[in-house]
Symmetry: none
Subunit: 256 residues, 5 copies
């Protein structure tokens, strides 16, 4: 069980997590990339993925304003904010259940990054709003590092900073991901990365993550760029919340 | 549909209201009366009433801390606060979906009361937290006035102050209560008053309220002082959310 | 011309005043009286009076939220606030073009009143929001005093405090009202008082007010309790803005 | 319809937009270029373009102070501010109906730009003041890029950041501009760029923009550097607000 | 006895210090290094070292939240914070008995460092929370300097800034360390540095430190990376608080 000695976090976590598991759909790509295929029309895109089993949508501040009545009452809003703690109160006022910061860079973190994420963690503690800290190790060419020791380090630093849950890459293997989960004292969700060729592979990631004790996923393109976004969302949701295997979940998806 | 030009209120209202209707269980009696039969053990009492159809529990600040993990993820918390707008941010931090103030007194309101409730409405606007304003007209001996013109006045003043929904007495008759609903431009919920002798009578109030266009009820003793609190809550919830008649809802309650 | 060395006031005054004249419809009675005949349904009531010639509607904070999209783009909102300067920024955020305080009491003012209205004037200066200060002299039984020396005193005190325009009773006679206008260095608008028996009498007040150099009126019941609110509003508007006599304006009103 | 869950934005948008369309005259060139032909005398220049159909003038902070009484009551002020959120409250106090930031640079945006515009969007949300975010993609030599995919990206990023309306280049073709409009979930206005040789070409841009679903234009030099600024403004206004074709609108302009 | 004319510091110091001596276990390595052997599971790691004689655990903000109920009532929490005085109030709210900043760099300090640590000292004075200032001189290659004159300078600067106790390297010799203690007007605790090969050597440091008048130690890896963390902690605690020699303390440790 996830315990917080912070009332607001207990309440808000209870909306994002069901029995310790969560399925977040990441839809905040527009901030950095503009229009991404699958997200052309945000309200429609949100509508499609809001199936049973999806607990939250992760969006930018601008998109949050645009989709708020679509999501309200059906899923939590997680708002992606800049590295500035003043956005925490703004997100709280708007009804978000968590804020997220994005980091692709070197692990361990430079002092300035530790500092700015620490300020957000502090504000989140003050306001009772959970903090999802994304820490993705990349190499000098900007490629994500899936190496287990790097991922372990990233996850743990996220927790030490005061993140309430951590978003990191999936190491690809249940056994190694177990080490990530065990040495991070906060719930861990995995990122999806670029759209995979094979939907079965994606579902295996999800199955592996939860088998290893991970809390769930924050997937984007692998959900809404799939030819059947609702089916894909349903499939992932059933692995996370109902314990289906990747194989069993496949039948949720429309064969094309 | 309930519309707010305030993002946080849109989000939080969507958790208290389902298709414009709400069933709130009032459990904030301890502040004024200490231990009230039925509320001896708050966590058990909350557990009992948290059946399908109950949208929110209304509790004191202290009780909120005590029952937060019982209610979290199952129903909204509405926190009863003093006439001081500084409690609004505190309630927001704690994860409440609304705050409520209590008023039993003369209607119309004295200036000081208008002023202090207005300050709470202002803070609620600032923070995106819905304000449930309870305005109950009483006579010089402290007895609740159910007279329709007094109730109309009370409800409307609550809306003019800036309350987002209003809690007032039920006038007892569908036709007269329709006048209350029509002249109050915010959703109206009815209070329960002292425990009724007859559960059927209570259910008829609920049926009358929603028939007249009321948004629902905020009942206390008539739920948790009933010999079958869960059954009574289920019955009321089905009238409010599923359109059952009082007669039909009776079978939800265990016959003793 | 009305000059302010305060940019925001210049801009907002330009929306309330046309060539130095204004017609405000007062609709803030609900705060003190609940449902007043003619204001049962606020959106409809606002819709009816928003005819050519009406410059602003004066409403409570709660009603402002309710009618905002009806009035937006068609007339200014003047929000009636409690005696607390913190409501000034709130009103500004909501898009009001002025705030108003209500005062029925002894003239000259007791120090506490001078002080609280002064604080609102200070905040209005800070935020560039015009302040309509209503100062109505009443006798010990609460009856409005129309005596010219009292009204002169009230109007001048309103300007001295820092009100940007002043709402006071009409003295009933052009000559005496000229004295009010001349000794008050800010624009003066007259209140309507209780509904008059005779619409012609009301129109004569308006004619007298503008003849004396008054800026216009802030009328309520004599507009929306009239059997033809739109016609009555048109008639008053034409006296104020187009210089019609009361007699000429009468034909705007539907004969019953 | 343009919907905001923010009262102040509803009110202020209603002054800039008429039935979803707007015509803004950009006059903020002095900040970067000093005296630009056509803007030598700001008050005269504003006077000339304030014809029927013009909804707003966009000026620097300094010019706003200078022309405020010319524009007041006739058109909205949109103030061009530095990348500093503290100017938002200042603009609000001065009576602006929106603030604008200027950006000519690479698209997508570097993090520092995303961050500083996000802070302005946050402040605008707080204060109820609409934010017009201009994002103009330029190549390494500083030339504006009209390529549709770049413009789509720019427009969408503006909306994701939290801009309330977005100013971008016109792609030149109705079909391609439709893609911009459809993938940006906020209203889009086009910039004018350098003065065109041919007034008919300019009017065709306007016609194309609104045909594609665009909200209107924010034009400068092509209005006030025209030999008949008032005529040109009238022509553009009629295309935007009355649905004239470029051809039909031509006759508003004095032939020289 | 350590005297403060600051009530909160008197009370909190009395929990960290016993008769002027203290044994702090440093466990804040995760922030910079992620998972460090011995700290894989923070709650277990804290549990193991919380033996008789340990007065405080020093952890990150995130770890503090995680281990708070393990440590509560058994040892003080010292929270390692960024160089930002706003974390002082946060740490106070969370129940810490001190805050600590980390500094490895040149001694004397550059002005910016003096300034930022001074701000923390000021906040600690304000809030009554002791400030443990760590100042570790390192050479250009980043290696710790154990030279006595550098250590004396570091310790004294820590006290001059307003630190309530200072963490510096051990100079290795009782006589030289006496000079450090004598010229620093605040209590001095020594850091452990990398894990020593020989536990006896570590215990000799402790013995030397207290012999020289030092207040105690803030050791990490030499405690929880030892094969018998509880035994090692007991041994160190007995040297500090019961005056055992290193030799005598050795028998507290399980021979492997």
């Amino acid at each position: 069980m996830i315990m917080h000695s912070n009332y607001g976090k207990v309440v808000r976590f209870s909306r994002i997590f069901k029995r310790g598991r969560t399925f977040i759909v990441a839809m905040d790509h527009g901030l950095e990339s503009g229009v991404v295929p699958g997200l052309e029309k945000m309200r429609d895109a949100v509508e499609k993925v809001l199936v049973e089993g999806v607990d939250a949508v992760m969006v930018s501040f601008g998109a949050a304003k645009h989709v708020i009545d679509v999501a309200a009452g059906r899923a939590s809003l997680i708002i992606t904010i800049p590295e500035d703690e003043k956005f925490v109160l703004r997100a709280l006022k708007m009804g978000a259940d968590a804020v997220k910061t994005t980091y692709f860079g070197q692990i361990p973190l430079a002092y300035e990054k530790l500092y700015s994420f620490s300020k957000i963690a502090r504000a989140c503690e003050e306001y009772g709003l959970p903090y999802l800290i994304e820490l993705v190790p990349v190499d000098s060419s900007g490629k994500v590092i899936y190496d287990v020791s790097k991922v372990i380090t990233a996850a743990r630093i996220g927790a030490e900073i005061g993140g309430d849950f951590v978003k990191i890459p999936y190491t690809g293997v249940v056994e190694s991901f177990k080490l990530v989960v065990e040495s991070c004292f906060k719930p861990v969700v995995i990122m999806g990365g670029p759209k995979a060729e094979d939907e079965y592979e994606v579902l295996k990631w999800v199955e592996g993550c939860v088998k290893a004790g991970g809390a769930g996923v924050a997937f984007g393109r692998n959900v809404w760029q799939h030819k059947d976004p609702s089916g894909m969302a349903r499939a992932i949701g059933k692995i996370i919340h109902m314990g289906l295997t990747a194989q069993e979940a496949l039948k949720e998806i429309k064969s094309s």
